[in-house]
């Protein structure tokens, strides 16, 4: 029983050590481009931009037919 407890403690310690080691090493990016791609994925345009753009678009004249041609 004592041995089992000891093993369990040992396993817990190993897991904790692995976790700590993982936290130290983390994820590795091989290139600068990978780092920038990761950074880009974290960045979102602000919501206020949508509102501004909506307002600006409302003030625009109805778009010409090339929109329809282009996206059809």
């Amino acid at each position: 029983m004592k041995q089992n407890f000891s093993k369990a403690t040992e396993a817990q310690q190993t897991a904790a050590q692995e976790q700590a080691q993982q936290a130290q090493t983390g994820v590795e990016f091989k290139t600068v481009e990978e780092l920038l791609r990761h950074d880009a994925a974290q960045v979102q345009p602000p919501k206020s931009l949508m509102t501004r753009l909506q307002q600006s678009l409302k003030q625009e004249i109805r778009p010409p037919a090339w929109w329809k041609r282009w996206f059809s």
Binding site: F29, L35, L36, V43
Partner: protein, 192 residues
């Protein structure tokens, strides 16, 4: 030797929602916005280093795209076309800013305040600090190196497209990128 980066945690991201507009033409514009807004905003943000200016630039780029689509001949990809508008806009802004402000270069300040390098050149302990460190490292580069790195980091952009966009040969882009990566790594290390 290529550099490596270590991160402790990652953040889940969501796609950029498009402006709510109605009608076919507006719907088409929504598609354009949804697909490219994040990329345009990111390029402007890291090129200028100012979120407010980046927002203004992104707004203006999409408004210009809306107005000028008839001038888009399809010779380049839409992303490249939007990037061209973005880069021109950013460069105009920077030129105007430099004309108004005479200051010491930010590069000097980065080097003066940077602590000693760590064992890993691009080690990052907190995801929160990553953006700031990247920004500082990019600002230590020349404008051309910064732009090239940001453009090639976009997986949709080929070297040929980057070359066309920056008006130089593909070989020149490759050569400069090699130096840009090296410069970025050194600068990033000094921001630790």
């Amino acid at each position: 030797m290529e550099s490596s980066v270590i991160l402790v945690e990652t953040v889940e991201t969501k796609p950029t929602p498009a402006p709510e507009v109605s009608g076919f033409e507006s719907e088409a514009f929504s598609v354009l916005y949804t697909e490219h807004a994040r990329a345009v905003y990111y390029l402007a943000l890291r090129f200028l280093g100012d979120p407010t200016q980046a927002e203004d630039v992104t707004h203006d780029v999409f408004l210009k795209a809306y107005r000028k689509l008839d001038q888009f001949r399809g010779e380049a990809a839409v992303r490249t076309w939007l990037y061209r508008i973005t880069v021109n806009h950013c460069q105009n802004l920077r030129q105007t800013w430099y004309q108004r402000h005479i200051v010491a270069t930010d590069n000097d300040r980065v080097w003066e305040t940077a602590p000693s390098p760590t064992d890993s050149p691009l080690r990052v302990l907190e995801i929160k600090e990553l953006g700031e460190r990247i920004q500082r490292a990019l600002e230590a580069l020349t404008e051309e190196y910064r732009l090239l790195l940001l453009l090639v980091a976009d997986e949709r952009m080929s070297y040929d497209e980057v070359a066309a966009l920056t008006q130089q040969t593909t070989d020149a882009v490759r050569g400069k990128l090699h130096r840009a990566r090296k410069a970025f790594t050194q600068a990033f290390q000094k921001t630790a």
